[in-house]
């Protein structure tokens, strides 16, 4: 990596802002890729102009490569190239799956430390005074020369043993360096994303590694939390309520993480989550590699067997295609046109350029999209919910940038469900861009934490963000609560106009205020407004209906049964009456022959399960008198 290279996306001497706020960043530390952001701005590019930086380190002779350059070494120098180290942090050697074949640097039992995994790579080292492997003094930990006074002799190949923690330290150090070079400032703190399924040992290992890399860790934030922070920052997308159910679809390279979140006015908790390490971008790559290999053979009459490949030339060709696909997939995500895949000297010195259009691409990737759909359905079922209850889908992870995935999931959800694709926020590095969402959320969180003061009480508040804090424990409602305006003869579900105020799965205490106009009729008054407070149960009704008759359609044969289709609908059902509120109105105004007034209603849900409902008239005049009722605590 060109540590002293040019900075195509920024300057090393960026003007230092005159601000008392410390410089803090968010780091998305994936297993395959990492990225850094400061605030909501698009993530930071490293020296090579990359914003998605491959979690890879490669040793080649006396050189150390980090990031995407290291990944490129998987073609010819795979056994000295280390990838996938994040998921090994905090793991014992005996806990690792042994059957995984890998073309990258082998994982061995550490020669000196019991039950510790390690990578063995070969490097060239100046003899006779080799540097100890633990001396992480240079930026890239290149076993460089100039550190010793000993005159340099011919470098000799030696084995170097590195633990996953050591590798991760080198990597994070370089990441931090890139960010500081880009910002032109020292980074004073960082929030780092971690998978929700990491256990305490894994979290401790990440923290240790980050500290070893010189990072002041403000918080380790689970991925779903980082994404929730980003998606609740800034203005609400059209059609979204601050109280909503969000499905976070995180499709990375080697895994799929699904999280169903209850988002309640910026407070979030997980309703259900799942993790699958057999679904990811790698599977899409396998399909595409086969597709292009076939093309290659068709064009050149040169046989090429891939996925799996055994012959050495085939193995290299597969690795080359895998690298080239990064570009192909990004093109497919970014534009509706066709994308190319170009590899110089793919096999037997033959160059290859193939093209694939979006339709064909989606055909190849279909099985992965469908697997995500099935997993999402499973997850919803585990939470006793349906696709109908998903108000918003959020995409995280590189592979979730593919529009074909969104099109697949759209078949399940309601038309009103908001996705970053329907909201138009994916394109051009918008707020919904799945590849930057985590780093941005972590960065916002870092800013939030940096703003907390240092008084005694503030320190207590700060502790609430620490791992294992008891402040995260909360009680939440199990039924939705709202108000019902009774009607004389109503065919509405509940016998009147229903307004949901606090959906189930809302953590207490909670406060909600709503305002709306009320129709008071034609009579001159005095007027009063009355409504009932109810708990309701939500469900789904499935009906089999005959499809609407198509005029032009040929009449069916007599013995041919017309096929019924399933129609699903959300339902609500009265569960329990809680109270009634009556407001005598004084501010009613006549509009087009009918009297109207505007009402504000407030719900206060106590931590003890008590409910206080108040209503008052609002208008140009002074606010009206408050009418209140209380429901006793549980």
């Amino acid at each position: 990596m060109a540590i002293n290279g040019t900075f195509p996306n920024g300057s090393a001497n960026a003007p230092v802002e005159a601000s008392s706020q410390p410089t803090v960043v968010g780091i998305n530390f994936g297993n395959s890729y990492a990225s850094i952001a400061e605030g909501l701005a698009e993530s930071i590019a490293n020296e090579d102009g990359e914003r998605q930086i491959a979690c890879a380190i490669s040793f080649h002779g006396e050189e150390t490569y980090i990031g995407n350059q290291a990944k490129a070494q998987l073609v010819k120098n795979a056994s000295n190239t280390i990838v996938g180290f994040r998921n090994l942090l905090g793991k014992k050697f005996s806990e690792l799956p042994k059957d995984k074949s890998t073309t990258s640097a082998p994982i061995i039992q550490h020669p000196d430390v019991p039950d510790e995994p390690a990578y063995k790579v070969q490097v060239l080292q100046a003899s006779p005074s080799p540097l100890p492997p633990s001396a992480l003094t240079t930026k890239t930990n290149t076993p460089a020369v100039s550190q010793t006074a000993t005159p340099r002799s011919e470098p000799a190949p030696v084995d170097r043993i590195l633990t996953p923690s050591e590798v991760a330290t080198i990597f994070l150090k370089s990441l931090l360096q890139s960010a500081e070079d880009f910002l032109g400032k020292k980074v004073e703190g960082a929030v780092i994303t971690v998978p929700g399924w990491f256990d305490e040992k894994q979290l401790a290992a990440v923290r240790q590694v980050a500290e070893n890399a010189g990072i002041n860790v403000l918080q380790l934030l689970e991925d779903a939390g980082a994404s929730a922070v980003t998606t609740t920052a800034g203005p609400l997308a059209d059609g979204l309520n601050p109280d909503r159910t969000q499905l976070v679809v995180d499709l990375g390279a080697s895994s799929l993480s699904l999280t169903l979140l209850s988002i309640r006015h910026g407070l979030f908790h997980i309703l259900a989550s799942s993790y699958d390490s057999n679904i990811g971008g790698d599977q899409i790559d396998d399909k595409l590699i086969k597709f292009f290999a076939k093309e290659f053979t068709k064009k050149t009459k040169t046989p090429l067997t891939v996925c799996p490949s055994t012959d050495k030339a085939d193995v290299r060709a597969e690795a080359r295609l895998r690298l080239a696909l990064e570009h192909t997939k990004r093109t497919i995500s970014a534009s509706p046109g066709a994308a190319t895949c170009s590899v110089e000297s793919l096999k037997d010195g033959l160059d290859f350029t193939g093209t694939i259009n979006r339709m064909r691409f989606d055909m190849e990737a279909r099985s992965v999209y469908s697997a995500v759909y099935a997993k999402a359905q499973e997850l919803l079922a585990s939470a006793d919910l349906d696709f109908l209850h998903v108000d918003e889908i959020v995409y995280v992870g590189g592979s979730a940038s593919l529009p074909g995935l969104d099109e697949t999931l759209a078949q399940g959800v309601q038309e009103s469900t908001v996705t970053p694709f329907t909201a138009g926020t994916v394109i051009g590095g918008g707020i919904g861009d799945p590849t930057t969402l985590l780093a941005r959320g972590a960065a916002l969180q870092a800013k939030l934490l940096a703003q907390i003061g240092h008084s005694g009480e503030d320190e207590e508040v700060r502790k609430a963000f620490e791992q294992g804090s008891t402040w995260v424990r909360a009680k939440a409602t199990t039924r939705s609560i709202g108000i019902l305006f009774p009607e004389e003869s109503s065919d509405a579900e509940l016998g009147g106009q229903w307004i949901g105020v606090i959906p189930r799965e809302t953590a207490v205490p909670a406060r909600r205020n709503i305002a709306f106009d009320v129709d008071l009729g034609e009579d001159g008054g005095p007027h009063r407004v009355g409504f009932e407070v109810w708990e309701v149960k939500e469900g789904v009704k499935v009906e089999k209906v005959k499809p609407p008759k198509d005029e032009d359609e040929e009449p069916l044969d007599e013995d041919e049964e017309e096929e019924e289709i399933e129609v699903k609908e959300k339902t609500i059902e009265k569960e329990g009456y809680l109270a009634s509120v009556v407001v005598e109105t004084k501010n009613a105004k006549k509009q087009k022959g009918r009297w109207r007034t505007r009402l504000e209603v407030q719900f206060l849900l106590g931590a003890d399960g008590s409910v206080e409902v108040s209503a008052w008239e609002v208008g140009t005049a002074v606010s009206g008198e408050k009418a209140s009722v209380s429901v006793p605590p549980l």
Binding site: I452, A464, S469, A474, A507, V508, R511
Partner: protein, 61 residues
């Protein structure tokens, strides 16, 4: 200040026959235990209220 969600629904006039039912001796359905994600400004506000034992209204100030 509380965020007020401005709605567009317009409930109809009250039926003449309606009178407020007495509240039943009933509370909310039981609450369940959940774990909040320690992130975002709303969580910070939630904790501040809890630490200082403030109501929403007191915290607004």
């Amino acid at each position: 200040m509380a965020d007020v969600l401005q709605l567009t629904v317009v409930p109809p006039p009250l039926p003449k026959s309606w009178s407020p039912q007495p509240p039943p001796a009933k509370s909310l359905s039981p609450l369940v235990d959940r774990k909040l994600i320690a992130a975002g400004p709303a969580y910070l506000a939630h904790v501040r209220r809890a630490v200082h034992n403030l109501s929403f209204e007191e915290h607004d100030k």
